[in-house]
């Protein structure tokens, strides 16, 4: 309900933009819209909810997530986001933010991670993950992407992610690279970041999670990837599957040095 005026504002702004100048792109409109909102990104509501959820005793074990290790030590949230995905010795896996949160929710709080991974977006504990992702990413806002590549598994996942990025399939022969493999391309009026290299501050991997104005929803990186695969006409990718984590490593390492603006505001 609250977001309807925001949607109307964007629509009005975009429509107005089209009348004023046909050469003005939708991204200019969105940039203006972002400026108008500046300190009013609806993602803030999710950030606040996420911070509460992190600190609240929940689950069968009635524990908070404050002892969760996101890579920089138990309970350290600041700066953790821009170093994910990374290798974790305790699970023996490379994990992205969301798969790591699943680990913490299972080990600390007693939730069933596999069940949560199977749950649809925004339902049940998936909504918890979205809010947590929003808050945790916000705690690294303005920092530069700095994924570690010291561990052999992190380097292997980069190589696997690269192969996933260029993997063509489906009835339309699309891969991630079909849209995100070159500079300066668009789908309709939507600018497409080139994700085979650092696309720049706050673009691509350094922008998600994000609040999506068009759908009025908060989207995590996993959900972003899920919808990319839907539009590629692929089957349904498992939540926090190694394939999606490998893609995160590939895009995140490529974006090394890009400033994170997550959670961003998107079309």
């Amino acid at each position: 309900m609250k977001f309807i005026p925001l949607l109307a504002a964007t629509a009005a702004l975009l429509a107005c933009g089209a009348v004023v100048s046909q050469t003005k792109t939708a991204s200019d409109g969105i940039a203006e819209y972002r400026k108008m909102l500046e300190d009013g990104n609806p993602a803030e509501l999710f950030e606040a909810k996420g911070e509460d959820l992190w600190k609240t005793a929940r689950g069968p074990k009635k524990a908070s997530l404050q002892a969760c290790n996101l890579g920089l030590g138990p309970g350290v949230v600041k700066g953790a986001f821009v170093q994910l995905p990374r290798w974790f010795a305790d699970t023996g896996r490379v994990q992205d933010l969301e798969s790591r949160l699943l680990t913490c929710m299972e080990t600390l709080q007693g939730f069933n991670a596999a069940e949560i991974a199977k749950t649809g977006f925004d339902k049940g504990e998936q909504a918890t993950l979205t809010a947590l992702s929003a808050w945790i990413s916000s705690e690294s806002r303005g920092m530069k992407m700095a994924l570690p590549q010291a561990h052999a598994e992190e380097r292997r996942f980069y190589e696997l992610g690269k192969r996933a990025f260029f993997f063509r399939g489906g009835p339309m022969d699309f891969s991630c690279a079909s849209c995100h493999g070159e500079d300066g391309k668009r789908i309709r009026l939507q600018d497409l970041p080139n994700l085979t290299k650092n696309p720049g501050d706050g673009l691509g991997f350094a922008a998600w999670p994000a609040y999506r104005v068009s759908s009025g929803e908060m989207w995590s990186m996993q959900r972003r990837l899920n919808d990319c695969y839907r539009q590629q006409r692929f089957p349904y990718p498992g939540y926090a599957s190694d394939l999606t984590i490998a893609l995160g490593v590939y895009m995140g390492v490529n974006a090394q040095g890009a400033q994170s603006i997550a959670p961003a505001l998107k079309r």
Binding site: R156, R168, P171, S178, R186, R233, P237, L243
Partner: protein, 215 residues
């Protein structure tokens, strides 16, 4: 075959060395591991079945930042050209108005679509191409198709002089890989994304001298 030998050889090295360090993973092993990750990760959903990640020759050869070897490119293009089904009765053009509707429509074939029937699919054209100049919301992944027929001198599609470009355009829409092995464009006829009649309508949008594209 060659790949299997490589893997066997690499595995033997690992066993004799007695330490499976990742630095010893070969590119061919990584290729296999990446395929395994895809098989693990996906499940079918609605019309999007798991056969969609089984790659054919062209999909596999074009899944790299580097183009395939020349011999493979030629093989893909020859197979693609041979796959083209030419229009029944030699009728190449339909209605450009229907073609414009199809060009605007970017829907179809996702796991949220109810059916894979061609009737439910758009031709996706404006996602990647400029076509009618009136439409300012166009993508830039493909080249501009504005004035497509006019620029190629098509004044009368039944004129034998126009036949090469008419046939080329049909084949390009039916199976884009006939002329560019790793084209980003879907194979609209070959992959059953559009029916013969729908392709005729898109043909008319591009080639009919009366189409707004050629004004």
């Amino acid at each position: 075959m060659q790949r299997k030998h490589l893997i066997t050889a690499a595995a033997a090295v690992l066993v004799t060395a007695g330490c499976a360090t990742v630095s010893m993973v070969t590119p061919a092993q990584l290729d296999e591991q990446a395929l395994a990750l895809h098989r693990e990760a996906f499940r079918e959903q609605g019309i999007a079945k798991l056969d969609r990640i089984e790659q054919d020759l062209g999909q596999k050869a074009c899944s790299s930042p580097n183009p395939p070897p020349d011999a493979v490119v030629q093989q893909i293009e020859a197979q693609a050209l041979a796959s083209v089904k030419w229009p029944t009765g030699g009728v190449y053009l339909g209605d450009w108005r229907e073609g414009e509707k199809l060009a605007q429509n970017g829907r179809g074939m996702t796991w949220t679509d109810a059916t894979a029937d061609t009737k439910a699919n758009g031709a996706q054209c404006y996602n990647c191409h400029q076509i009618d100049q009136k439409e300012i919301s166009f993508g830039t992944i493909g080249p501009s198709l504005y004035n497509y027929g006019k620029l190629r001198g098509v004044k009368d599609v039944t004129d034998p002089a126009a036949a090469p470009i008419v046939q080329y355009t049909w084949a390009k829409l039916w199976n884009s890989k006939a002329y560019s092995a790793c084209s980003n464009m879907p194979r609209f006829g070959h992959a059953k994304l559009l029916s013969e009649q729908q392709i005729r309508d898109v043909m008319a949008l591009l080639l009919d001298p009366k189409s707004p594209v050629n004004q």
